[in-house]
Structure formats: C-alpha cells, structure tokens
C-alpha cells in the first residue's frame, strides 16, 4: 500500500484525550507516511509542502460506528412498533433468512456498501447473518468501499426460528472455515466473532466461540442488556452468572484478551458495569435504536464518568439510518430525556461528548484512530456546511454543534481513510 505524504489546510477540529473540543481554525493537518503528524497553525518547514487547501471547510476525524447490521439495511425505517424480542421474530429473522440466497445478499449488500461509502462513517463493526457465503460477499463489498471494518458471521443455534438456525457443530465449523478464509484475505476488512446474543446461543456454542476468539486472537461483538425481557431470558439460561455480562465472560467472550464491543448496555447492573470496566469492553451506545424498539435510555453520562469506553453506533435497523451525525443528535436528545425523566444527577450530553464518543472513543476500538494526534491513522471528513444558510455569524464551535442536527452525507465533500481519499 502506498504511504502518502501531504498536508490539508482548513478548520481542523477534533477532541483532546479527555474529551474537550480541540479547534484549530485555518490550520494545517500534516500526513506523513499515511499517518497524522499533527495540527499546526503554520505549515512547518519539514512538512509535506503539497497542500490541499479546503479553505473555510470543516475537517473532522472520521466517525466510527461501533454497531450496525448490514442485512437489516433493507428494512431501515420499518417495523418500529415492537419491542426487541418481538421485533426480532416479526421483522428481523424473516429478513435475515433471505441472505441464504446469494443473489438477494448481493443486491442488498451492494446498496448497503454504497451508502456506507458515502456516509460519515470511516470505520465500523458490522453484523452479517449466519450465512458464510453471504458474509464473505459482504466483506468483499465492504473492502471495496475503502472503509475499515470488522464484519461478523452471526452465530445462533437455539431459540431461533427453524429457517434461521444453525446446528451447533456446523456453526463452529463454519466459523472456523470462515475465519481461515477471510482472516488474511482483505487489507481493510477483518472478521470478528459474533454470537448474536446469549439467548440464541447454546452454552456449547458460546464455549466454542470463546475458544476460537482466543485461538485466532479475534475481537468479539455482540449485544448486552438492551431490553428487560431479554435480560430475564438470559438470567434463566445462565442462572449462575452474576449478570448478563458475566454470562459472556464465562465463555471468554467479554474482552480481556482480545477487544470486545457490546451494543446497548441500557440496563446494565453495577456489577456488570464493573466487569465491563475491568475487561476494557467497548459499549456501542445506539440511541436511536433504543428509542425505536423502546429499550429505554442508557445512562451515558454516568458511564463516561466511570471512564468506560462508550462509543457511538447507528444500530441499523433498530436505528433507521447509517448516518452517524443523526446518532450524535439522538444521543444528545436521549440524554436530555434521561436527565428529565429518570435521574437529573447526571449531566446531559453535550456536542463535545458525543463528538468525542463518535471519534476518539469509538476509534480506539480500531487502534490509534479518531483524532489528529501524531501517530493516529489519517481518517478525516471534510464538510462543506455552506448551504446550511444563516445570516447569523457562527463560531467554529457553533458550526460543529449544528452538524448532528443538520448535516447529511451530502455535506461531506471528501473522506479520507488511512490517508486514502474515497471521494
């Protein structure tokens, strides 16, 4: 892979490691050997003198979506009238079953990949379905987008409809075969172990997946404490586990060695949160999904205060859109309702909070990603907000603050991932 050297000029905006806005109007963002060297008010003598001048545009780190279901993109915006378990049965499982047919998968994943390429997302953790061929097809398509992604073949061998269930031994074999086939196949697209969630995975399967994750040193993604009915099911299935999270942990599926990201954590108990912290698990906060399937509101301000790795996610199709700008708005809005309706002892989330979550915190799941610090991957969005007309003079902070509410993929005029422009 080529290692580009260049400099970008514009309004460079990211966050500090402790979550404050770090704004550099009319500044220089230097890329050397494909990696950020830093942000400078003047073009340094030693920096690449090839300057791409974006004028008054906004330059921000790429947004990292920690949880999205590619096969569910086909019914985004539909079926928002059920809670989780009924939503899965009514809408999700019948749709995911269609991906047994590669032709359907090809059509659906082409649309998904095209949206992701043009979206604000630079890196993502993606669920596929149980089907190995369709999962590999999705990986191929994601590779072609230029995004950096983890893509998971889903495992489920119980409490699932007959048309969308695996034999336990076959699920294990398929997972190993899929890993062998894909672990070194792509530059940007890597496999991730993906038990759907505890209810749909037998103990035997969970144990096997834990072993595979350890053997191959592969990260893990799943769902955790999203919905009360789900949690009740888990406590019946795993009566000895101190929490839903402990059930994953028992099988080596809650981080520790390899990175782990768990979606939701809306209803996590203190003991579960303590384990999440201990294991360094990433939480994929999915605010729109939590509204749409009536899961509730996660106490994100508290989690941030605890120092947890709380990233942000769209969770299509619990969420209706792949747009991470919208996810930021929903995170702020949900925090307002948490404050108003549940507990006002935790502050509401600010723009800086959700920007930090979507960039630096989510990015950390992928390594040195999500900021413009020296040594960080050069992932950037260049945003032209000039058609968001107003006669009111706006500060740079205000221009940023509008993005969650007003920005769309059409405002992104350039998108860099690992220093390569996608468009």
């Amino acid at each position: 892979m080529e290692k580009p050297n260049f400099t970008i000029k514009g309004n460079i905006c990211h966050t500090t490691p402790d979550g404050a806005l770090s704004l550099h109007p009319d500044s220089y963002l230097v890329c050397e050997n494909g990696v950020c060297t830093g942000v400078f008010p003047q073009l340094p003598d030693w920096a690449p003198q090839t300057v791409i001048d974006y004028g008054d545009l906004l330059v921000i780190p790429g947004l990292n979506d920690l949880h999205i279901h590619a096969p569910q993109f086909t019914f985004r915006g539909l079926g928002m009238d059920r809670e989780l378990m009924q939503w899965l049965e009514t809408y999700t499982f019948p749709e995911e079953a269609k991906y047994k047919a590669l032709e359907y998968a090809d059509e659906a994943y082409t649309i998904f990949a095209d949206h992701m390429r043009r979206s604000a997302t630079t890196r993502a953790c993606v669920f596929a379905t149980i089907h190995r061929p369709a999962t590999e097809l999705l990986m191929q398509k994601m590779e072609e987008t230029g995004l950096v992604t983890y893509v998971g073949k889903v495992n489920m061998d119980q409490m699932s409809p007959q048309y969308l269930i695996e034999d336990t031994a076959q699920s294990e074999r398929d997972t190993i075969d899929w890993l062998e086939a894909t672990i070194d196949r792509f530059a940007r697209t890597k496999p991730i172990i993906t038990p759907r969630f505890i209810p749909t995975c037998s103990s035997q399967l969970l144990a096997a997946l834990g072993r595979i994750a350890a053997d191959y040193n592969i990260p893990v993604q799943s769902h955790l404490s999203e919905n009360r009915e789900e949690i009740a099911i888990v406590s019946k299935l795993e009566p000895d586990a101190a929490s839903y999270g402990h059930a994953y942990d028992k099988y080596g599926l809650l981080g520790g060695n390899s990175p782990c990201v768990m979606a939701h954590c809306v209803h996590s108990s203190d003991i579960e949160l303590e384990l999440i912290r201990k294991r360094g698990v990433f939480i994929a906060h999915s605010p729109e999904s939590n509204l749409n399937v009536s899961s509730g509101i996660a106490p994100i301000a508290r989690y941030l205060d605890m120092g947890l790795n709380v990233g942000l996610a769209t969770d299509v199709a619990g969420g209706s859109s792949e747009c991470m700008f919208k996810a930021m708005a929903h995170a702020i809005q949900s925090s307002h309702m948490y404050w108003r309706l549940i507990d006002d002892s935790w502050p509401q989330l600010t723009f800086a909070d959700v920007f930090h979550m979507a960039t630096r915190i989510s990015g950390a799941f992928f390594g040195k990603v999500g900021a413009f610090d020296p040594g960080y991957a050069f992932d950037a969005l260049v945003i032209d907000d000039s058609n968001l007309l107003t006669p009111k003079p706006l500060t740079l902070t205000e221009r940023l603050e509008r993005l969650p509410y007003l920005a769309t993929p059409q405002h992104i005029v350039a998108k860099y991932i690992n220093a390569t422009p996608l468009f």
Copy 2:
C-alpha cells in the same frame, strides 16, 4: 384566483376521519374548481380527463405545521444545552432582537421562506417577532412561497430583556395597526394574535389582545404548559387561574369563538385538558423541541383518546428542522419513551397516528384541509421514494411508514396547495 380542474393518478394515501390509513393504490384523485372531489379506482366519466400520471409515486395530503418560529431558523441546531427559560434568555431573545433591523430580517426570512417552500409543509402557524415591519416582510415572503400560513407579530411587555420588550399601549396599537395593514392584504397569508406566552405579557396586554382577537375575529396562537419552571411562573403571575390554560382563557385567548392553537401541553393538568377540550383548542405537539430543550414528553396517546385536536409541529428552533417528516419520527420515538419510562397504560403512537396528526388533525385548524375527502382543499405532496433502495418488496403501507425516518424535502417531486403546484 383560477379554479383548476384536473385529475392526479398515483398511489393516493390519506387517513379516515377516525385516524385509520386510507390507501388507494394506482387510483385517481380528482380536483374540481380547485377542491378535492374524491379518490376513485377508475377515472370517472364526469371527472376532468386531464390526468397527471405520477405512476408508482406516493400522493399524500400536505403536512401542516402548527407551530414554527421563523426568526429562530437562523440558529436551528444550536443551543440545545438549556431548558426553556434559560434557552430563551441565552439564545432566542438576543437573536429575535436582531429583527428590528429590516435588512437582517430580509436576509433571514428569505432563507426561511425558501426552505418552507421546498419543505413537506403546505400550511403553517408561524411566529415572527415583536417587530411590525419585519413581521409584514415575513408575511410578504410567506405569501410568495405559495404556502397558506398564519403569521403572528409577537407581543411581550414584561419579563423580557430591555432590548426585546414593548410598551404595553404601544404593543396594543402596533397590533391593531398591523392587523389593519395585513388582514386583507394577502390571499394565503393571514395574521394571528400571538402573545408570546403568559410570563412575558402583562394582564393589561393580555386583556387587550383578547379584545382584539374578538373584534377582528382572528385566531390565537401561543405556548402552554411546556416546562415546569414556566408553569410555576404563570401560577405566581395568575394565582387565581385554575391552570395555565385558564389564565389564557380569562382574557379570551383560549379559543371558544375564534380558533386557537397552543404549542406543547407537555405538563397539562386534567383541569387544563378539560378546558382545552371544551374550547376546541388545537394542541401543537412539538416532540423534537420537547426533547431538545428537555421539556419532557406529552402523553399524546391519551390526548388522542380524549378526542383532543392534537396536531403536529416542528417548533423551530426548539426543533432543529422545518421538516415535518422528522417531526413525525420524533413523535413516534417520544411516545415509545413515554410508554417505556412514564406510563405504559397508553399505547405507543403508530405511523397512522402521526400521519393523521400531521395531515387531517393539523389541517382542521385551516378548515377542510388535510385529507382528500370531497370538498377538502387540494393540498398534496407527490413523493418519489425510489432512491430509498431496498431489494425487499414493500407494501404501500411500508413505503409510507419509512417516510418519517427516511424522507427529506428532496423526495418531494411536486407540491400542490389549493390545487396550485409550487414546483
């Protein structure tokens, strides 16, 4: 004004008077003398044979926004970190003060009117500022859009900053002068009496506005029971009133004779709701605003069950967008959180509910508006959803259900108001 005769062919979708979806695939919507004659599966012999064939596109009634602040459009998406009273002081009042300068108003209202013209909104109740010249300029600009609107010069003579306050007598005179100047000036744009809300209006001013509304037979718009701090202020200012609503009613400003629309009603007491019902007041449910400025969630399912006129609104800039599609999504999402976090004895809102609210219920504020029944105003949006790609075959209902989440003004390919196409 010309009275057009024509027929539209397409997938005609509206609601029945009791709020059910009424879907007519591949049908004919007939317009005679500028008014709907009805929807028919075949083109009737007697109907205008000039057929505009929209093929497989969706044809829905125009959406009616019952509450939007035109001067606040300049800071849409900004300042979402305060509750109502502090939000007004910090962001809103300083911005509204700028409209004393007609040049600023001209620039701002040009942008606002342009967005409204291209939006999903066909009719709206609009707040201006206290400034009469800028209000008349806004009315002129709204008239040019082709929308049907009520526009209100705001009144405020107390508890307001010195830079945005009126002398009581002057406020009354200005209001009368403004009414005299505008009541017959425009075809589509009419004045509406607009006390900002009880806290910023003296008893003397409220009494005067009530008299003026009655004398000129003009409708009234204001805010009601949005925020707990606001309600506490009102109960101090009007200690004898049984509720915030009763305070308006005391001055003849809560409907009865002329139509009245009150934004929010998030925290309305039973006695206030009873008066709202008795007076036939329209409630402008503004779900995004209620999230953004942390007001809370109104129990809309209960209000609908009570038979109240609960319309829908964007409430820019408490809401970030003029897009009524988004308002529908926020209404559904907020109802999910009401169900989850406050009271699950009321059902969550469905697409049919919010579609009905945005069309037929909101429309009723403007007369026979918001449906395709015989005798109704011919207000329609033609929506091309073909770029919302999916391989999943969608029913007509599903295509509609996606709109709140996925549709933007760009999906509107034609917009008719009183049978006149705006584009």
